[in-house]
């Protein structure tokens, strides 16, 4: 993991890897991954996140 990764796109120059990706994309959706999204913040979120030690 690296912050630099956010600043770059990804490039593929290897035909074999491109072919591998093409084959993988023909497979159906991975059923082991269930779609979800983050919930709402708790009511008291601000009071805990914004509690500064020098306040």
């Amino acid at each position: 993991m690296a912050t630099i990764s956010f600043k770059e796109d990804i490039e593929i120059a290897d035909n074999n890897k491109a072919k591998e990706l093409a084959a993988a994309l023909k497979q159906p959706r991975d059923s082991s991954i269930k779609s979800s999204q983050p919930g709402k913040l708790p009511e008291n979120a601000g009071s805990i996140w914004f509690r500064r030690s020098d306040k």
């Binding site: 993991m1 990804i10 490039e11 491109a18 913040l41 601000g46 009071s47 996140w49 509690r51």
Partner: protein
């Protein structure tokens, strides 16, 4: 509990200095690893600005027990981004046709797991849970707007771990010791 940084910075009583201080308390589980300084620095220095710019989305894994006691303990976090995967001009037109139904199309969307870390206080195995949560959020984005390729840049020492989580080696990262791994969702 997972809390979205996007929601935290939108709170009415938002105080950036306090939030930065809170994020700075995060210490990753393996401080001796080569990338640990970057993992902690990103959360401390870059995450808020990149969230505001819409370049990344960061999710914080907050310890439920501590929260119930009115304390903050960050067990881990992950940061996601939408990127472009480019196929260089040397890629065979037949493969591009197979990929896109178009020999002249050279790119597609890809989701990046740019940061993924657990703290020293997080239980063993929490990293796998965090990764699964990251993948489930990406799956949600994929359901809404498409894109099936997920990738990450990893130290070679973690290749086996990510392989055990369904990722495959893609290539060595240019001008870096990192390797790039992918998974199709």
């Amino acid at each position: 509990m997972v809390q979205a940084l996007r929601q935290i910075i939108s709170l009415d009583d938002y105080d950036e200095a306090s939030l930065t201080e809170a994020l700075s308390t995060f210490e990753c589980a393996h401080p001796d690893m080569e990338d640990s300084a970057d993992v902690m620095r990103f959360l401390r220095e870059d995450a808020i600005a990149m969230e505001r710019a819409g370049l990344t989305r960061t999710y914080l894994l907050v310890n439920d027990g501590a929260w119930a006691d009115g304390r903050l303990q960050i067990d881990g976090y992950f940061s996601l981004a939408l990127k472009i995967l480019n196929f260089k001009n040397n890629i065979d037109g037949e493969i591009l046709y197979e990929l896109f139904g178009d020999r002249d199309k050279h790119n597609c969307p890809a989701y990046l797991i740019g940061q993924l870390a657990r703290s020293q206080s997080a239980p063993q195995g929490a990293g796998r849970q965090f990764l699964n949560t990251a993948l489930s959020y990406i799956a949600n984005a994929s359901d809404l707007v498409g894109g099936r390729i997920v990738y990450l840049d990893s130290l070679p020492e973690r290749q086996q771990y990510y392989q055990s989580q369904g990722f495959r080696f893609l290539q060595n990262k240019h001008k870096s010791r990192l390797i790039q791994m992918y998974r199709i969702i």
